[in-house]
Every structure is written in structure tokens, then in C-alpha cells.
């Protein structure tokens, strides 16, 4: 079995995680014995990833920067079988959620996770959350530097940070190392974008105050260029300003985006820089040795360059249309010649988006061992990724994924729908998400038609908290509750691509649950009738505006 090519826990990391499990076991014991009230216990369980949902507790497991080994994935399958109902839900924040956990079992489940250097630390609560990164990191052809090195550095710094565990509200950090941002850095509390300046030095653009939810905002640039080794001191200064001055009088105005919006980005920058001027020479400067030690662990696996053109692949491409489409949509360029990045679609037609059974997880782990250096990634689009696949192995990977139901050639297409768990599971939701996604998926199941429609991102949230990222969907769908009836508000034109990040605009009155498919169909028909050559759905929308879409939708529903 191959070794892993990402950060290895050492005794320090393992000790901390296992001591944290012991602490939580004691907290659970005290709660069950009545020594802690629910009000006192809730923040403790939340910072250990344990929510109470409609039917049960839900455990949100962190997959830091979306990187996972086959061994870890097998353990997740085992835990889902032993402590849950044998399946899990991959989320838009590179987490895995188990939906049927018992409080009394939670410490054992966390101890099992710790066996493979995993945890559920800070996947909830008003603290710095699990750090996310580009899911193609370390493999992408367009990458400047691997963002996971920095995500790991931030993971360590933010774990059990004593000053920032009771922030005004949750705090999400995302990092990208490519000009093509796949980590949505403009819609996070802090987004970090690695780029190379005129002198050839690589540093961070620090973006602050983005976010979706009730008040969606695009993040603003706090610092154009931050030298890399100053990252933690700068983050600490920013978090301190937020901890001291972020609003705590109103839950809905407590995120850093509201602070930035109210004081203005210039004042925010002045405050952060003033704090930073005092902090920068402290102990948080990163030594080159530390950076190098972590960088070495993210070394590219030994991938001997090969030919990009493989006869068997080309032959199959010609004879099997679905394989040809899969190569187009699910396979991305790798930085090493002769290799590719393969996305396993967790969006089979008609299935709950992002869900995988224990058997499917094990099957994916087997494929990773055989064809991708034992390594996997989880994307914020709720798919799984094999980062290092030789092009000559693509037919075998395609066939193996087909046996698992994960070979749908739909990545980036209309059935690659992002959806939150919605009212079927979630205590916050107002309306269901998954059944809506299933109906749309079934309606557009025909593969050639999906590819004809082209890139089209549908994102569905069951409430205004926007876990389904509906604001940045080309088509966004938001479930609302009106006098006990589920209605769905449709928005158009959202985008998370860097430089084009945009929030969608509401099309018109919300539509009934049983009219959502017709509405989407009308939107697609409008696009197909008016698109110019090579134009994506969202480009056509930008060119012609909402009116033609609106007329057709409301004439239909």
C-alpha cells in the first residue's frame, strides 16, 4: 500500500487529538449525568462537530483541505457502519456528515477517527472552522504553489486557539494556489490567494468579509500582497480585531462581513494593520525550517512522465460515447505529463447529491490504491477526486467507477447539483433540498443532452443560511416556507470563478415545489434558443439579461 503524500501526523498531533477525545468523553459523561445543562453543553459538542438535527445527532467530520487517504476513507466507511446507518454525506465545506449518531457513541466514534489521524474539531461552533483548499491542490496543471502547505499551517494554529474559540460567530478560511480559483476564496470570512508578484515572489492576497448566508457579500481585499511567512501573525491580528469589535448583539449581524461592511474596508484595514504592527514581531513569524518541514510532506508522488496519447484510451474514446463525454467533463489536466485528475461524480442520476454508502466509500478507496497513489480529495462541489491517475489507467478507473455508480459524466453539468441536506435532516431548514435535486436530476438524465446544455451549476439551499451556496449558482434555488407550503425562489447569474465572482439575482416570485423542474426546463430552453456559439448558460444570461428567462419561466409555471 502506498504511503501518503500529504501531512503526516506526528506524536504531537496525535496526542492533542486523543486528549481532546478524552476531554469530550468526560464532557459527554457529565452531560448525561446532568452535571451540564444543554445550554452549557451545546457549544462543547458543537466544537467537537456534534449537532442535533431533526431525527438524531449529526457528526460533522473534518477533512482538512479536502485531502484524504484511502486508509482514512475506509475508516470513515467502517465508522458509518458501526455508529451510523452505513452512509455519509460529503458537504460543500470538505466535511463528511454522519446523520444518525448517538450522543453516547460519539466519543467512541471520535476515538475511532483518531486512529487514522482524523477528528471533528471545530467543524461547528463560533470558532475558526475546518480550513478548505482547492481540491486539485498538488496536482493541478495551473498551480503556482500547493495551498495545502498553508492550510496545514493554519489548521495547527487555529486548533484549540485559546483566544478565538468564542468568536462573535463562525469563521471560515479558504486557500487557493491557482489563478483558477476552485476554493471560492471571495465568499469566505477570509480567503487567501497565492500569487506571484512582479519581483517573482509568491505571497498571499488576503480577502476579507465574503460570505453567503442571510447577507451574501463578495469579499474585499484587505492586503494585496502578504509575504508568506507573515501569514499567521496577520491572521491573528485580523481575528483579534474581529473578536474585539465584531457585533455580538445580533446573531445575524455577527459575521466579519458585517463588521467590514459597517466600518468600511479601509477602516478595517487600518485597524488590522495597526494591530499587526504590534503583533508581527511576536512569536508567530514562521521559520523557514517549519515551512520547509511541512512543504516536504506535500511532495508530489514519484510519477514518471508518460505519453499523453495512449492507444487504448483513444480507441475507447471513439467507440464508447459515454467514456468520451466522461473524459471531457470528469478528467482534468495534471501537472505531470501522462497523468490526469479524475473526478468521481457523487451525483448519479436521481441520487441524493454527495451521499455515499459504506460499500461505495470502500470501493473508491480501492480505486485510489490501485490508480491514484492511495490519495483522494473531497471537493466543495460534493464530489470525490483521484488526483494522480495515469492516462493509460483511465479506462480501468472509468470501469471501476461505473461499478460503483460514480462514473456519471456530469461534472460541471446540470445534474452535478449542489444541495444541502434540507428539511429532511436539518433543524434549520425551511424546505427540502434533496428531493428537488432528485427531480431535476431525473428530468435531465440524458447524457448527450447534458453535454449539449454544457456547463451549468445548479445550487440548492433549504434555507437562507445557504449551505447549498445558492447565491453563487448559475441557477440558484432557495427553499422558503410560506404558511406551511414549500416554495422555491430562483436566482440567476451567480458565479464563484475568480475575477467573475457574482451573486445571483432573484428572477421573480417563488415557484411551487412541483413547478421547479418546469421552471428550470424553461430557463434551459431560453438559453438553448438564444445562445451564441461557445456561450455558457451564465454567459448568455449576462449578455441578454433576466427578462427573456423571466418571461418564459412565468409563462410556464
Amino acid at each position: 500500500m502506498p504511503d501518503t503524500y500529504f501531512y503526516h501526523y506526528d506524536d504531537y498531533d496525535r496526542t492533542l487529538v486523543s486528549e481532546r477525545v478524552d476531554q469530550f468523553r468526560d464532557q459527554v459523561r457529565r452531560r448525561l449525568a446532568g452535571e451540564l445543562t444543554e445550554e452549557q453543553f451545546k457549544p462543547l459538542r458543537l466544537t467537537n462537530g456534534l449537532y442535533l438535527q431533526l431525527h438524531a445527532y449529526m457528526l460533522r467530520i473534518a477533512i482538512p483541505y479536502g485531502t484524504l487517504s484511502s486508509r482514512q476513507l475506509r475508516k470513515l466507511a467502517e465508522i458509518s457502519r458501526k455508529y451510523d446507518r452505513g452512509y455519509g454525506h460529503f458537504t460543500t465545506r470538505q466535511n463528511l456528515q454522519l446523520n444518525w449518531i448517538k450522543l453516547e457513541d460519539a466519543p467512541d466514534a471520535l476515538a475511532a477517527l483518531a486512529e487514522v489521524d482524523m477528528h471533528a474539531l471545530q467543524t461547528s461552533g463560533n470558532c475558526i472552522r475546518n480550513v478548505t483548499a482547492d481540491h486539485f491542490a498538488g496536482a493541478a496543471a495551473d498551480e503556482i504553489e500547493d495551498p495545502r502547505i498553508w492550510a496545514e499551517i493554519v489548521r495547527q494554529w487555529s486548533t484549540l486557539h485559546p483566544e478565538f474559540t468564542f468568536l462573535p460567530r463562525k469563521f471560515k478560511i479558504a486557500i487557493t494556489g491557482s489563478p483558477n480559483d476552485r476554493a471560492a476564496v471571495r465568499v469566505h470570512d477570509i480567503g487567501l490567494r497565492l500569487w506571484r508578484n512582479d519581483t517573482g515572489e509568491v505571497g498571499f492576497e488576503v480577502i476579507v468579509g465574503g460570505g453567503l448566508g442571510r447577507t451574501p457579500m463578495i469579499g474585499k481585499t484587505l492586503r494585496e500582497f502578504l509575504p508568506k511567512n507573515e501569514l499567521l501573525a496577520y491572521l491573528e491580528a485580523t481575528l483579534r480585531v474581529y473578536n474585539r469589535y465584531g457585533r455580538r448583539d445580533n446573531l445575524y449581524k455577527a459575521r466579519i462581513k458585517i463588521l467590514v461592511h459597517e466600518v468600511g474596508v479601509d477602516k478595517m484595514r487600518a485597524d488590522v494593520e495597526a494591530e499587526y504592527a504590534e503583533t508581527r514581531d511576536g512569536l508567530l513569524g514562521l521559520s523557514n525550517e517549519t515551512i520547509e518541514a511541512i512543504t516536504r510532506q506535500f511532495a508530489l508522488p514519484d510519477l514518471p512522465p508518460k505519453s499523453n496519447l495512449v492507444g487504448a484510451v483513444e480507441a475507447l474514446r471513439l467507440e464508447n460515447r459515454d467514456f468520451a463525454l466522461w473524459l471531457k467533463s470528469n478528467v482534468a489536466p495534471h501537472r505531470v505529463k501522462g497523468y490526469a485528475i479524475v473526478t468521481a461524480s457523487l451525483k448519479p442520476v436521481g441520487a441524493p447529491p454527495g451521499d455515499a454508502s459504506a460499500v461505495q466509500m470502500e470501493g473508491v478507496a480501492d480505486i485510489a490504491d490501485a490508480f491514484s497513489q492511495g490519495e483522494l480529495r473531497v471537493s466543495h462541489e460534493q464530489n470525490l477526486i483521484f488526483p494522480h491517475v495515469a492516462i493509460e489507467d483511465l479506462p480501468a478507473v472509468y470501469a471501476a467507477l461505473g461499478r460503483l455508480g460514480f462514473a456519471e459524466a456530469n461534472v460541471g453539468k446540470i445534474t452535478d447539483i449542489i444541495a444541502c441536506p434540507g428539511l429532511d435532516y436539518c433543524a434549520l431548514a425551511n424546505a427540502r433540498s434533496i428531493p428537488v435535486a432528485q427531480r431535476i436530476s431525473n428530468h435531465f438524465s440524458e447524457l448527450a443532452r447534458q453535454h449539449d446544455i454544457g456547463d451549468l451549476k445548479i445550487k440548492i439551499s433549504g434555507c437562507i443560511n445557504a449551505c447549498g451556496h445558492h447565491h453563487v449558482g448559475h441557477i440558484g434555488i432557495l427553499g422558503v416556507d410560506k404558511n406551511g407550503i414549500e416554495l422555491y425562489q430562483i436566482s440567476l447569474g451567480g458565479d464563484v470563478d475568480f475575477g467573475k465572482t457574482a451573486l445571483g439575482t432573484i428572477l421573480g416570485p417563488a415557484v411551487a415545489a412541483d413547478k421547479v423542474v418546469e421552471a428550470v426546463d424553461a430557463l434551459v430552453a431560453t438559453y438553448l434558443d438564444t445562445r451564441a456559439a461557445g456561450e455558457r448558460f451564465v454567459d448568455t444570461y449576462r449578455r441578454i439579461g433576466a427578462q427573456p428567462f423571466k418571461e418564459r419561466v412565468y409563462a410556464t409555471v
Binding site: 446532568g34 438524531a56 445527532y57 441520487a351 454508502s357
Partner: protein, 104 residues
């Protein structure tokens, strides 16, 4: 056909502390996983008393609250809101099975 949709009928519900399972308070003041055994308050005043009783019995559960229900001719009760219907009867789609390689 529902006999009583007035919204006056209420039961007390909560999630069980130990495992999060949905439970209802029965006539004996015990928490049960069976909605058909729930104590039904038939007017606002009785509802308040039921909630007080639920809170007094709240040790093994989390934050009890009242749920408006409808009653059929045959006496079966069902929550009025979609959220509570889902809490009472589970997911509205089939979750994937542990040993499944394909959905549905």
C-alpha cells in the same frame, strides 16, 4: 378525512438526550417514540399544562416543545407542519443503503 385541523390539538415533543431520537410525552409522563401514544392537549390551556409537564420531565430529553397536530376520524394523529411530519415519519426519500453500490 381529518376530523380536527383547528391547530388547537397539541402534543409535547423533544429529542432524546442519549441518541437524539424524536420522542413524545405520553399520558403517564413518560417519553415514547410512538406518536400514537402521545398525550394530546385539546385546548390552549391544556397545552400550556402539557408543556409544563414536559419540562418537568425533561431530564432525559432536550428542550421540549409543543407540536400542533390533526386528528383523524379513527383517532390517529399527525403533525400539521411539514417539518414536524418529517420529524415524525422520517426522510421523504430513500437514503442509500450501507451495502448499496447504486442508488435506488
Amino acid at each position: 378525512m381529518a376530523k380536527n385541523l383547528s391547530g388547537d390539538l397539541q402534543v409535547a415533543s423533544a429529542n432524546r438526550l442519549s441518541d437524539g431520537v424524536v420522542v413524545w410525552l405520553d399520558d403517564a409522563g413518560e417519553w415514547t417514540i410512538r406518536l400514537d401514544r402521545a398525550a394530546v392537549a385539546r385546548d390552549g390551556r391544556t397545552g400550556e399544562i402539557l408543556l409544563l409537564r414536559a419540562r418537568a420531565e425533561a431530564f432525559p430529553v432536550i428542550d421540549p416543545f409543543l407540536v400542533a397536530v390533526a386528528e383523524e376520524e379513527d383517532g390517529t394523529i399527525e403533525p400539521l407542519s411539514l417539518r414536524e411530519k418529517i420529524r415524525a415519519s422520517g426522510l421523504t426519500f430513500d437514503a442509500i443503503a450501507a451495502d448499496a453500490v447504486r442508488y435506488a
